[in-house]
Every structure is written in C-alpha cells, then in structure tokens.
Amino acid sequence: MTAFIALLHRDLRVVRRELPSFLLRVVLNPLLFTFIFGFVMPRMGIIQHGYTDMLLPGILGLSMTLSSMQAVSLPLVIDFGWSKEIEDRLLAPISIAGVGLEKIIVGVIQAILAGIVVMPLAWLLMRVHLHLSLTGVINSAWWSAPSSRRSKSVWCSQCCLRR
C-alpha cells in the first residue's frame, strides 16, 4: 500500500510540474470545437436548434477521455518501448497489477481535472444557445440511446420534461 501511494505521489508530482502544458493540451481542442460548433455556427443559424445541448456533454466526454489517455498511455508507450523506464516502477515492492492499477487511477484523476477545466469554459462559450437544466441533462442522456427518437424529437429541456 505504501508503494502504491508513493507511485501515485510521484505521478501527481509530475502532473503538477507539467500543469501548464497539461492545461493547454486539455483546453485547446475542446475550445476550438465549441467555438466553431457551439458559438459560430449556431449564430449563423445553420445548425439545428438544440445541437449545442448535445455538444456540451459530448465535448466534456471527449476531452476527459482523450486527456487521460494522452496523459497515461503515451508516456507508457515510451516507458515500455524506448526508455525502459517502466522497470524503474516495476522494481518498487508492488505487484505488476498494482502498478497497472495505479496508472489507471492517475488517468482518472487527470480526466476529472480536465472535466473541471473544460466544463465551465465550454459552458461560457455556448451559454446563449444552451437550454439545459439538471433534469434535462439526465433525460437527454437517457433518451440518447435509441436512435429513432433522436431524429424525431427536438432536444431541449422543456420537451424532455413534458414527456
């Protein structure tokens, strides 16, 4: 357990040190996405009403998944292939599965970090075009599964609530 916490400590130290580049990487991509699809195009009126309501959770999910994958798997590829640095971690008194689990948790932590940063930014950019309430978000997530519904319904919180 001590080894596990120490490994986590090491990874978080590295994350903290590389925070500016981490933030840049996390923020840039979703920012461009939301600017074009959530700000410019709705203004021009060429996007279906309610599209931005879908865009926000989508962007959030995308940036969380990508940032955590980039932050964990890319360094791991280098560790395994070129620098063999993974052996430095594998010599710690912890099982191999433990090292793997630690990497997953670091990925999750970074995903949450990315979500916390991206969510308000995207919200701010698109806010004029958003009609979201908490129940609306839950409902839209629930109804987004069957594809037939998606084409019929206009996505806004009011109609979701009515149904």
Partner: protein, 328 residues
Amino acid sequence: MENLKNYIVENVITVRDLKKTFKPKARKGVEVKALDGIAFEVPRGEFFGLLGPNGAGKTTTIGILTTRVLPTGGVAQIEGIDVARDPVSVKRRIGVVPQVNNLDRSLTAKEILLFHAEYFGVPKHEREESAQRLLERFELADRADEKINGFSGGMVQRLKIGRALMHDPAILFLDEPTTGLDPQSRRAMWDLLTELNQKGLTILLTTHYMEEADQLCRRIAIIDHGKLLALDSPAQLKRSVPGGYLIELQVRDGANGSFGESLRSLLGVVEIKAENDRVRIYADRVEGLLANAMRLAGEQNVMVTDAHVSEPSLENLFLHLTGRSLRE
C-alpha cells in the same frame, strides 16, 4: 557435510537448474535456450561475478533473480524466497542496477532518490538524509536539482547505483556496470563497488571484461550459451589452465635460436615463442623458473634487459574453456 556447510555459511542467492527458453516471433518454431540449467550459490557478503560474452545468458540470469523475467524451469531464491512465487518480498531485499538507463526522466536527480525510497516506505527524514549523503558520496550534489538529460554516462551510472542503495538492500545486482565508461570512471566505479562490498553488501555483477572480474570478484562463474562452464575464485580458475603462466624476457641480441631452444629444456615449460628481441615462456607454475631462465641467459652471454612475469589470465582460461575468445 553439504548441510553442515549451509549452516555455517548462509546463502543469500540460491540458483538450481535454472532454465529459460524463448520463442522469438521472428523465427517461427525455433526455441532459443537462453539458460540451460545453471546452478550456483552466493553466501552473504560475497562479491560474485558472472562472466561471459554477449548473449551468454548473464542478463537473463540477473533478470530472473530480480523478478523481471520468469524462469521456464528450475529454482531461484533470494534469502530463501522463491523469486517466481513471491516477487514483492524479493524486491524489498534487492537493489538493482540495470544495463540500460531507466532512471526517471521526469524527475530531478534528488527526486529520483527520494521517490525510490518512498516506494520502499523509507521514513521521510531518513530518506532525505540518505539521499543527501549518497549525492555527496557520488559527487552529484551540485547537480542534484537537475533532470538527468544532460548527465554523462558516469553520472548516470553513479545515480543508478545510488538509487539501488536508497532502500538499504541486502544484495546489490549490477548488470555490466562499467560498459561504456571511460577508464577513469571505470576505476572510480571499481573503488566504489569494493568499498560497498567491504561494508558487508553482497554484490552480484555481470561483466564481459576479464580484468574487471579479476579485480573485483571473490568468485567467478563463467557462462556461455546458457551453461555454467566454471565456478571458482579468479586465482584458482587461472591456475586450472595448463601452461597459463607467462614470463616475458626482453633481450638485447641473440634471442632467437639457441637461447630459445635451451629454455625449452627447463622444468615446467610448455611453449616458447621467440620473436626479434622478445622471448615468451608459457609455463606451468614452477618454483625458480625465472631464476633458471636468467641463469641460462648468463651462461649463453645473452643480455636480458627486462623481465615481465604475468599471472595466468582469465582471457586464456576462457579461450581454453570455450575454444573462442571473449571478444568475438
């Protein structure tokens, strides 16, 4: 008798009939035997050497003993713990200096030491203290807060050893620690390792340098093609080569011919090689051989300007055992 010996001398490394076979994907159906039944024991406090050419199985042996490679057969134990069954307990007891530079590239030199100790649960004040001490001992203190990108080969090597020592291991494994170092750094590394061993640390080292094994190790295992060829102290090993003793005489004139021929009659001489002003006498270790040779030279009015006696070398032994030179 064997049991009795084990009671007196505690073996910290036990290897019995160790086997490892690879099936390389590039060559289908071919099985490569990296290790083919190796066995040895290392008592506490010993400086043990694995000597062999590249591809002999040294790194595989160390890989298995340090839990990084799974054996295909046989037993490997560290302080009585099976490395395949309980790798975590084994990892607590060993320090490893691998061949490649696997130092943490995201951290500074000092952080590398501190975090390594933290992995092993060394208390904070203790690890701060020993990191500072090791950085000073290894002459890295002035670059402690730098990342390792700009470090020289010698510095990287010292830091790797420092890292391995941070959690106070019982056994230190070094995989070719002086490969790629300049002669001065190599000498410093030898002094360092000798010092560590004198403090009671058990050291297992692999090398393909004869002089390194000769200088450092109390016992040497010579391996080639995954098999153990010989295991003994350097002096004993060298003595086992017939005619491994070498006397080199520098003479002013009249070296070849009769003088060389007359040397052949001396007791213990195996072979004489005379070229220009130099006579090489290959011989078994016999008392008074040099004196007899000098007497013969005096009798024949041959002026000997210099004499050099060299102990039998491991190089000769390797040639004798495998039929090929260590440096292919």
